[in-house]
């Protein structure tokens, strides 16, 4: 039979699996909701039918993505209790109310107005419909606010005290919510969601341009996405740098793992490649820029920051995992910046809609946002180990008293169901994306008003 360590590993793997699947959908829907709100606003302002087609094209994809986000999110809100009951008992009084506020201010708002946004055009009129779209977009942003506050509090706990039952309680709610890492994490994640969406929209636009470079709708979406890549990707690099400095201040062991920085010494190198060896405390096969890490983290060539030797061995995170996830995330970010720069060059030369090289590059970048988001979360979550609440509550002290067999059973069920259900969802989304965006059917609302819905017939 499996021993207790395995029950813990299985529970951790189950959480990682379900949350990694889940984050894909909100990362996409936060960006898409804002994109739809902007597109609808542009349509109402300009009355250009291109915007209307673009809206209708993406709203169908949004509906599927949002639905998958809702059902995979429900799992998360119960998994704290099923698998991390000790953590829930101890941390519930602090993080519970924040999650309660997320439900009350975000989930109901999204769900309440989603029906009107998706199905209500012929029932409420343009202005109210636009209002509903805005409410859904705001709901997704508010949701990000609360859940990132919760996560950040677990990374950089503040404003707390302990009561006689060993529970964390809030001494100062403002300090809890606006804990030290929260502003950086929130900005980094929301901007990541926007970039993820931009990469998807850009890729779909590029794909249709490769087949038909005259498509007005494909041109518009590709152009908008490339502006995002040009302007927002560099901003994200800047935010990421600030977030990293904040992490250095509050979670130095995580930064040491990200950099493969085992020995505290001035003038630390920046490893581009290599394999951090936790046994020998060295980076094997490394290619490094001398003094690079010191320059980035201390803004001085021979600056010094804590290496892993400053921490007891049992408090090290999994160094290769954090090290490599970080490099993958950064690589995706750099590729996005490169895409933005090339697109600007082509745009300036008047070849934005003709450059097949650019379109192929943009198409390949379709999953880059998702890859960056997931690897970024691996960096921050694996980098926090062995703690659930940093410095205060260890992961192995947080789990439920559930036998390994039970966790193994549920984990297996989640894996099978998620691959089947969300695999089907991705299939339907990709099939939807194959539809030529100029062919989107836009019904005449006035004729249909009050009788039948505009969504009646045009699939397949």
């Amino acid at each position: 039979m499996l021993d207790s360590f395995d029950a813990l590993s299985l529970a951790r793997f189950q959480f990682a699996f379900t949350v990694a699947f889940h984050i894909i959908f909100p990362a996409f829907s936060i960006g898409l909701a804002s994109f739809l709100a902007v597109t609808e606003a542009l349509y109402l302002k300009t009355r250009n039918p291109v915007y209307q087609k673009m809206w209708r094209y993406w709203v169908k994809i949004f509906a599927v993505v949002f639905g998958m986000g809702v059902v995979s999110g429900l799992v998360m809100s119960y998994q704290f209790g099923t698998n991390w009951s000790v953590f829930s008992d101890k941390a519930g009084p602090v993080i519970g109310p924040l999650m309660g506020y997320e439900v009350l201010t975000a989930f109901f708002l999204e769900a309440g107005f989603l029906g009107v946004m998706l199905f209500g055009m012929n029932k409420v009129g343009e202005r109210l419909h636009f209002f509903a779209t805005i409410m859904v977009a705001i709901g997704t942003a508010i949701s990000a606010f609360w859940i990132l506050s919760v996560n950040s509090w677990m990374q950089t706990p503040a404003g707390w005290a302990l009561n006689s039952d060993g529970q964390f309680i809030a001494k100062d709610w403002f300090a809890v919510i606006f804990n030290p890492s929260f502003p950086y994490r929130l900005m980094h994640m929301v901007v990541a969601a926007y970039l993820t969406t931009a990469m998807m929209i850009g890729a779909v636009g590029a794909w249709h341009l490769l087949r038909d470079s005259s498509s007005a709708v494909a041109r518009k979406m590709f152009s908008m996405a490339m502006w995002m890549a040009l302007i927002v990707a560099p901003i994200q690099a800047f935010i990421g740098d600030m977030h990293g400095l904040n992490t250095l201040e509050h979670q130095p062991a995580k930064v040491a793992a990200m950099e493969g920085h085992f020995k505290t010494e001035p003038g630390a190198p920046l490893y581009l490649f290599g394999w951090p060896n936790m046994e020998t405390a060295e980076v094997d096969y490394s290619i490094a820029i001398p003094n690079g890490a010191s320059l980035i983290l201390t803004h001085s060539l021979d600056g010094e920051f804590a290496g892993l030797d400053q921490f007891p061995r049992e408090q090290w995170p999994n160094v290769p995992l954090v090290f490599w996830s970080f490099r993958i995330m950064v690589a995706m970010g750099l590729l996005m910046i490169l895409l933005g720069v090339i697109s600007a060059w082509k745009r300036w030369r008047g070849r934005l809609y003709q450059s097949r090289f650019l379109h192929r590059f943009a198409l390949l970048m379709a999953p880059s946002g998702f890859i960056a988001v997931i690897s970024g979360w691996v960096v921050t979550e694996a980098g926090r180990q062995p703690w659930t609440i940093y410095g205060l509550l260890k992961t192995h002290e947080s789990a439920s008293p559930i036998a390994a067999e039970g966790v193994a059973g549920s984990l297996l069920a989640f894996i099978v169901v998620y691959f089947f259900v969300f695999g089907a969802g991705v299939f339907y989304i990709i099939r939807k994306m194959r539809q030529h965006p100029d062919d989107v059917h836009v019904p005449d609302y006035a004729v249909h008003k009050g009788i039948a819905s505009e969504f009646l017939m045009n699939e397949e």
């Binding site: 209790g81 519930g92 519970g96 109310p97 439900v103 769900a111 309680i169 709610w173 008293p401 549920s410």
Partner: protein
């Protein structure tokens, strides 16, 4: 002020709102096998498509709220009910995605019909089983669940599971009575009548069975002031049952759903009085489980302000989509 008690009432409202609203979504799906024609199924699904997501959100509030204000109960109940909770979540995944996927394919439409039906069955059944498991008691040592892996599985909990399935069928059928006409409505009257009779018998059976096997519940029921309520409940149940059946016989449109809610309300009241003041019967009371007062107050400020607003715009959504659904009002391509 007794904030723990206020929160117990609010969580109860959230749970009841969930049952009242998602109950008809699930019930309609459970009724799908009785309506094999595709055009009927399209209409039935569209009778709930714009609102199901909001309905399910009450379940998120129930879970999130329990974690926030009764963390001890949350961290005991969920491990105790591990398997039914996981089955419910997976069921709700299959149910939820069916709303979108079903209209995205012709070839595989039946797959998502099955997903819709089985997912809803699984969710309803698990919810009933959890209800039964809480009623029959949960072993606790210290601050943790200490029972076995299959404690939740007994003939009684299975009975409760089936009763909830039947109850949701009643809600689903009476929702269809309100939202459709023609053949779907006619058949729904019949299913509602059958479900109503079975549900009333099931509620009566549980009400007789519980005090017999559980002394604490018996004591509660037979001492004042709960006894006053206890003796009025059978009368109320009879009144509502008769009202519901008459309303169905008279082919009323909206009333059957309201009467059905009345039936659920009585059952819910009976459940609450039976376990009060425990959240985990015989082990953890509302006050044992309550989070520190500043957590209760902090969330209450927002809840007091936000829940009425939520009711307002949820009501608005229902109003936008009011009226009968028919085959011409598909929401999808």
């Amino acid at each position: 002020m007794d904030y723990a008690l206020i929160w117990a009432a609010l969580i109860a409202i959230a749970v009841f709102a969930y049952v009242a609203l998602d109950g008809f979504d699930l019930g309609i799906a459970i009724l799908f096998p009785a309506f094999p024609e595709e055009k009927h199924r399209d209409v039935m699904m569209n009778a709930v498509a714009p609102v199901w997501d909001g309905n399910e959100t009450w379940l998120v509030l129930g879970g999130g709220g329990l974690l926030a204000v009764f963390p001890l109960a949350y961290s005991v109940l969920l491990p105790a009910l591990y398997m039914p909770v996981i089955v419910m979540l997976l069921g709700l995944i299959f149910r939820g995605v069916a709303f979108e996927y079903r209209f995205k394919t012709r070839r595989a439409k039946f797959v998502w019909d099955v997903s819709f039906i089985v997912g809803s069955w699984a969710a309803a059944m698990s919810q009933g089983i959890m209800l039964g498991a809480i009623l029959q008691g949960i072993s606790v040592t210290g601050r943790q669940y200490s029972g076995g892996w299959f404690d939740w599985l007994t003939p009684f909990t299975i009975f409760c599971g089936l009763a909830v399935v039947v109850g949701y069928v009643l809600l689903g059928a009476s929702w269809l009575i309100m939202k459709t006409h023609g053949e779907i409505q006619q058949r729904s009257y019949r299913y509602a009548r059958i479900a109503a009779v079975i549900l009333v018998l099931a509620i009566a059976a549980v009400s007789i069975y519980l005090p017999v096997v559980d002394e604490t519940i018996a004591k509660r029921w037979f001492t004042f002031p709960a006894s006053a309520l206890f003796w009025s409940l059978p009368t109320l149940l009879a009144i509502v049952a008769v009202g519901l059946l008459r309303s169905l016989r008279k082919s009323q449109q909206g009333r059957p759903y309201l009467w059905s809610l009345g039936l659920f309300f009585i059952a819910f009241l009976g459940f609450s009085v039976s376990i009060f003041p425990y959240l985990v019967p015989h082990a953890i009371t509302i006050w044992d489980a309550a989070a520190p007062e500043n957590s209760l107050k902090f969330l209450l400020v927002g809840a007091a302000f936000l829940i009425p607003i939520i009711f307002a715009y949820t009501g608005y959504t229902y109003w936008v989509f009011r009226g009968k659904i028919d085959e011409s009002s598909g929401y999808h391509d």
